[in-house]
Assembly symmetry: C2
Homo-oligomer: 433 residues x 2
Amino acid sequence: MTTKRKKSVGANKAVKVALLGFGTVGGSVARVLAASRFPDVQLTHIFNRNVDRKRSSEAAKAVSASVVWTDNIDVILRSDVDVVVELMGGLNPVEGWLRKALVAGKSVVTANKQLIAYRGTGLAKIAAQHNLHLLHGAAVAGGVPVIPGMLQGLCGDQVTRLSGIVNGTCNYILSRMEAGADYATVLEDAQQLGYAESDPSADVDGYDARAKLCILSRIAMHAELDPDAVAIQTISAIEAIDFSYAKELNCTIRQVSRAELDGKLMHARVAPMLVPLASPMAWSHGTQNMVVVSGRFGGDVVFSGHGAGGEPTAVAVVSDLLAVAQDCRTVQLPVRRREVTGDFLAPHYLRFVVDDKPGIVSAISGALSKVGANIDSLLQRRGYPKHRLPFVVTTEPCLSSTIERALASVARMDCMLEKPLCLQMLEVEDKAE
Amino acid sequence: MTTKRKKSVGANKAVKVALLGFGTVGGSVARVLAASRFPDVQLTHIFNRNVDRKRSSEAAKAVSASVVWTDNIDVILRSDVDVVVELMGGLNPVEGWLRKALVAGKSVVTANKQLIAYRGTGLAKIAAQHNLHLLHGAAVAGGVPVIPGMLQGLCGDQVTRLSGIVNGTCNYILSRMEAGADYATVLEDAQQLGYAESDPSADVDGYDARAKLCILSRIAMHAELDPDAVAIQTISAIEAIDFSYAKELNCTIRQVSRAELDGKLMHARVAPMLVPLASPMAWSHGTQNMVVVSGRFGGDVVFSGHGAGGEPTAVAVVSDLLAVAQDCRTVQLPVRRREVTGDFLAPHYLRFVVDDKPGIVSAISGALSKVGANIDSLLQRRGYPKHRLPFVVTTEPCLSSTIERALASVARMDCMLEKPLCLQMLEVEDKAE
């Protein structure tokens, strides 16, 4: 395999860096660079809309007086900067700008998960053609070095499966609900704390985690997925009662992003799941992120830490900047396009809310047995009114698609007051001796 | 910073690899290479004593017929292999062989923690002079990519502290004891399972973990330590009663290797410690390894997984081989020699076994108050005979050296039937929101 090295950076000659976006992460990158004074890296330009407001902000005090502030992207593209750090997010107009930056000979460091999930492969090709770097360690799990850890440390394994808690907002909401709070209150708190947007859909409905799952699959399993083909399920349908039943099952509930390679087919899904309290997934509280990668030879490896926030994300960005400055490359292995299914063989948790009448359990168990799904347990707590009774059925492992067929007929029953909630249950497979 | 790239490996030209040592890990490396057939890596030589016995072993079936087997190291050193993989352990004669290999233009991949802890800096200099690789991802925590994760993913942070469970044997023993077994039985089991040597000292007394702690400190905190200067404390003094008292304190006991940079001084120690059940350290069971790295900007990052065993370790070795094959380098930051102290400011757990008489508690508390150490709790369980009474005192945070001064006088009391056991208690500092 031939890999030519980019022109080496001369001794005492730092790479010149432009930041695109001077929000929370951008300010933190400036602060980390100012605190550590890496001789290899010099911040020279900052681009932002309404740049004057940014230049007079508190965060700007960490920025050297010699830095050029601009709201004109062409100033950056025509400058002599060596690396563009993109911290703005979204596909447009950022994708076009970064293509131009690469063509102009500038390496790119980005924290933009949507961009990398949807356009990463195309951008990487342009970067390779120009012998430049395109690094995105900050795009998944902020300060948790899961991307560099997998790229260099697990390339010798055959990773077959990964699962992660990669959206801090959902984890904050669900771990607060685990402790007793209700969804609406916690979402409001999350919005006030700045963890959730005013439109929380990207987080709670799984779009953010899905982009990250696609990036992780590419790096861990060398599999290119179409993000839009990956099934997502919202966490907004989870209620207090589900945590209560989960606890009876020695589980809690987390938004889990998981992917499993089965021959040429990738099973992938972002959804709230029941996770055993004994599983690493249940360790993760608040805005923490966690990724569990399972290799054929190495077994389960767990990465966890602060997945969001300015400074943890800045650590990933600055680490990437040092890699560009020292022209460090990681192992490249061929990536293949993989078809995706959301179907998983798993035990399922089914929560019904019914106007109780004789024969309901029999009808549900009949519908399940008709598709060949075995009931593992039936949980019905005391203290709920008969006319609005929540109860839970768990199944032995079967395909999600099988369960969905059974639920389609059950959901049409008159006594069903809500759409039944169907969650996959995570099984702990790799136990230490 | 100038870094010249080694002559690039031509397309379709694999690096030629020699294995030194064909034991458990060597056999696994051969198996992983055979299973994955990386086009960049070709196993060509195997060195071992009594090579004929190895060549006819079950593990040798994964080895291609074209591979040269030898018990003569000069055959390897004079061959055209590009990389020598050292899986033998110890300083002699391995160090001399690897120096010769580097001088002969061969890169080195090793799993040898003692060699890297004691001689790593010297060997790295020779490697750099010859523009070769010296990689040792397998030297700490086997298949857990803590070394590559820190090298590339945390280089942008300022790591101030790390703690780890890096000896699988001790973790197996202590987590079995946590579940009720006694030390002697578990040690015997560990020996029969091949987790512990017939002389278990390297593991249970902390020598193995100490070497790994020095390597982690070098990579995470750019601090070069003299391994012999790092304090170690055996786990063999831990008894069932300690787990029982630990549980009352919402803790368990683990062999913890920790280092904390305080200005120019490194606090470092390998010792059994009380760790809160709520701490990631308590998650680690059996032979699992775990490392928690704390950065000024990124907070706590946790790595965990299978730290030992042939195949997990082989993943680290093969990942390093791919890095050599593709000439991938990691970020280099200047390393500084640091003085070491074993002193930590921490709460302490003190367990006494006494022939009970009035005035003992008063004497102990007097000795502690004389040095300015405050008692936090006093635990005395029912059901033990008065003439051989175990009880526990915990202190508020104070320096270990202070406690040791108090214990020196207490230990001389006639009623003391055993040397008091003194364990530091780990505090959980970085909590997720």
